[in-house]
């Protein structure tokens, strides 16, 4: 972790964890003790070299880091335009970047003397990562999951149970990810004395967006070094998908002060004009959710709207406050990618490179393809392949069958 570089960047956060107008700690007084204690514990840990050594060692020995930076020769030739490189977070243990953060926060939980881990999950990826590290560290784990998601993601629910975690269905609200976050925060308020909450993305009250960023920036730090070593220069652009936005922040952080164009792909679902999307930065307005000020999907009276995306991991009504800031400051360009564009990109990568990406990551790919096509052959684009697509096979089968039935092309 390159803390010094972060401290010198003009994009760094202020002392209170605010990203200009975004972020903050909009939580009930019952949670203030927990977030203040966590902030202190994290600052202490992150400046301790033995803590960082242990974090890196576990990611190396247990998760297989560093993950490769793979050049996609056939894909790049077929598309025309810039050369495409993939940062292979799909090759992590458990198949996605989520483990980077889960290892870091579990290590922090142990250091702070917590006896139990709690986490929220939408599609189940962060729940699986949390259950995994809980097993690794020998801590009991409760995963809060919307009741609707529990039904939709039965396989991941079973995976979490196999790993020894308890899955708690959340029936409040719409029974989806946002409600699971509310419920885990409520539980944490009552149990923070012995319980650590592992937040899965760069969202929530300060210090979470900062903690998750610092545990995910290993993605970009590695990618930057690998790109320099493998090609002799920096990439011209870097692209990642954005739900809450943890893999994107992980990739972007290393490049913020470099002459590298940065792009975030959010989910346009069935189209940003249909009302069925999760394009928070494209269509949202500023508000407060889950303890942070950020862009979100809401009605005129501030009630949170249900988002939609084919990809469960992007199906979130808010976005990390640092993304809200990077968008407003103009440093990162955020574009919305539809379900169909993502599925088409997924098929293309599978057929041309033998890599089946997660539907989330496929949004980043689709945007990268558009960007690459406008660039020259000698230029380079890095895409964060945040996860593998095995979990999405059923969804993709379903989509393709439907298209075939209607005689449509994607």
């Amino acid at each position: 972790m390159v803390r010094q570089a972060q401290a010198e960047s003009k994009y760094r956060t202020d002392e209170n964890g605010r990203f200009a107008a975004f972020g903050g700690q909009y939580v009930p007084e019952t949670l203030m003790h927990a977030v203040l204690e966590l902030e202190k514990g994290f600052k202490d840990a992150i400046s301790d070299s033995s803590f960082l050594r242990e974090y890196r060692r576990i990611l190396h020995d247990y998760s297989g880091r560093p993950t490769p930076l793979s050049y996609c020769e056939r894909l790049s030739k077929t598309l025309g335009g810039a050369q495409i490189f993939l940062k292979r977070e799909d090759l992590n243990h458990t198949g996605a970047h989520k483990i980077n953060n889960a290892v870091g926060q579990a290590l922090l939980a142990r250091r702070m003397g917590k006896k139990q881990i709690i986490a929220e999950t939408g599609a189940g990826q962060h729940g699986v990562a949390s259950a995994t590290v809980a097993a690794y560290f020998g801590l009991p784990c409760k995963v809060f999951m919307g009741a609707v998601d529990v039904k939709r993601q039965a396989l991941n629910v079973f995976r979490m149970k196999l790993l020894g975690a308890e899955v708690i269905p959340v029936h409040s609200g719409n029974g989806t990810l946002k409600d699971a976050v509310n419920e885990v925060l409520r539980y944490w308020a009552a149990h923070s004395d012995d319980t650590a909450y592992i937040d899965g993305s760069v969202v929530g009250p300060h210090p979470y967006p900062m903690i998750v960023r610092d545990f995910q920036r290993i993605i970009g730090d590695e990618a930057r070094e690998q790109c320099l070593k493998q090609t002799g220069s920096l990439p011209d652009a870097a692209v990642a998908c954005v739900g809450g936005g943890s893999n994107a922040i992980g990739l972007f952080t290393a490049f913020l002060d470099d002459p590298v164009s940065l792009y975030g792909a959010e989910a346009a679902g069935k189209g940003v004009t249909t009302g069925e999307h999760a394009a928070t930065l494209t269509k949202g307005t500023v508000g407060i959710i889950h303890g942070m000020k950020t862009y979100l999907l809401q009605d005129a009276y501030g009630q949170i709207k249900a988002p939609y995306s084919i990809s469960a991991g992007l199906d979130y009504p808010g976005v990390g406050p640092e993304h809200a800031y990077l968008s407003e400051s103009g440093r990162v360009d955020y574009k919305a990618i539809t379900d169909n564009e993502a599925v088409a990109a997924l098929l293309e990568l599978s057929e041309l490179e033998g890599i089946l990406p997660a539907l989330e990551s496929a949004h980043g790919l689709a945007l990268a393809f558009k960007v690459a096509k406008t660039m020259r052959r000698e230029q380079k684009v890095i895409v964060c392949l945040s996860g593998r697509g095995d979990k999405d096979v059923k969804t993709i089968m379903h989509v393709l069958a439907n298209h075939e039935k209607r005689g449509e092309r994607l």
Binding site: N16, G24, Q25, Y26, V27, P28, E29, T30, M32, H33, A34, S172, G173, K178, D179, N182, L185, R186, Y187, A189, A190, H191, S192, T285, V286, G287, I288, I289, H290, G291, Q298, A300, Y301, G302, Q303, I304
Partner: protein
């Protein structure tokens, strides 16, 4: 501070009873009628909750009340009009608007204060705005003579407690237990040392909320606090009779039942010594 807040809460001498109901639960008409019933039951202030899709500080009972109100499109604008209607029908208690920060933000602060003053709102409680995030709102409240109610919890450090108490207005809201609103049979034993700690620094009346659902609990609290807030225990009675309350032909009977239940199971007899205004719910 408004004269109402000063007279009924801040400078009152008896144990203050502060009930909470959700605006529009189950209908606007029922909310107005419930407010008047609570006044006749001896309430000293009314907390009027604005329904929100993601109420972080609330347990299942108040979450469900929010959902009942949101289903027919209740919002802050309508809730403010309800206060006006309550005043027209004779409500003389201070009214505290309880709303999550996002609802207030989208409504617009200038618009909120303009309407709050014209509809005679006396207090504002924003459960997800801790001390650090509420400084500018506190200034605006003071400017409009509206009390911004502050919360303190058993986990609030001495240093924070002092800072919060120094800036508190109206009364101090002590959260009796960690977690969310909702009924609990007994208090955690830690609550008493906590209340003693608060009493030492508080310059305002200290009212206890979260988890109060029985007459015995209220009796216990009398030795430690100046008031008590009851939300879920009332809202649960409302929820149980949502259909009757929504129907104008059964509403009065349902409200009478709720009044009787609260009178028998929740309120200490002492609260009831105040002369009850005779009205249709007797």
């Amino acid at each position: 501070m408004t004269v109402r807040m000063e007279k009924h809460v801040t400078n009152a001498k008896t144990m203050r009873f502060i009930p909470f109901i959700t605006a529009g639960d189950p209908t606007d008409e029922a909310t107005v009628a419930l407010a008047l019933m609570l006044q006749s039951l001896g309430a000293d202030a009314l907390e009027l909750g604005i329904p929100y899709s993601d109420p972080l500080a609330d347990g299942p009972v108040i979450q469900e009340a929010s959902q009942r109100a949101l289903r027919h499109g209740e919002n802050l604008n309508q809730a403010m009009r309800l206060v006006e209607e309550m005043r027209t029908q004779g409500l003389d208690l201070p009214v505290i608007i309880f709303t999550y920060a996002n609802v207030l933000l989208q409504f617009g602060l200038d618009r909120f204060f303009e309407e709050a003053v014209s509809h005679e709102v006396d207090g504002l409680l924003v459960p997800d705005l801790p001390y650090e995030e509420s400084r500018s709102l506190a200034d605006q409240c003071a400017e409009h003579k509206i009390s911004l109610i502050s919360l303190v919890a058993p986990t609030t450090s001495d240093e924070r407690l002092k800072r919060i108490c120094d800036h508190a207005q109206g009364f101090l809201y002590c959260v009796s237990s960690l977690g969310v609103t909702g009924m609990r049979k007994t208090f955690h034993p830690d609550v008493y040392p906590f209340l003693e700690r608060v009493k030492q620094v508080a310059q305002l009346p200290v009212a206890v909320g979260f988890g109060i659902s029985s007459r015995d609990q209220v009796a216990e609290l009398e030795h430690y606090a100046d008031g008590f807030i009851v939300g879920s225990a009332i809202v649960a009675e409302v929820g149980r009779r949502a259909e009757q309350l929504a129907d104008s032909s059964t509403r009065t009977a349902a409200i009478r039942e709720i009044k009787l239940t609260l009178d028998q199971h929740l309120l200490p007899e002492r609260v009831n010594h105040k002369p009850l205004a005779s009205n249709e719910y007797e």
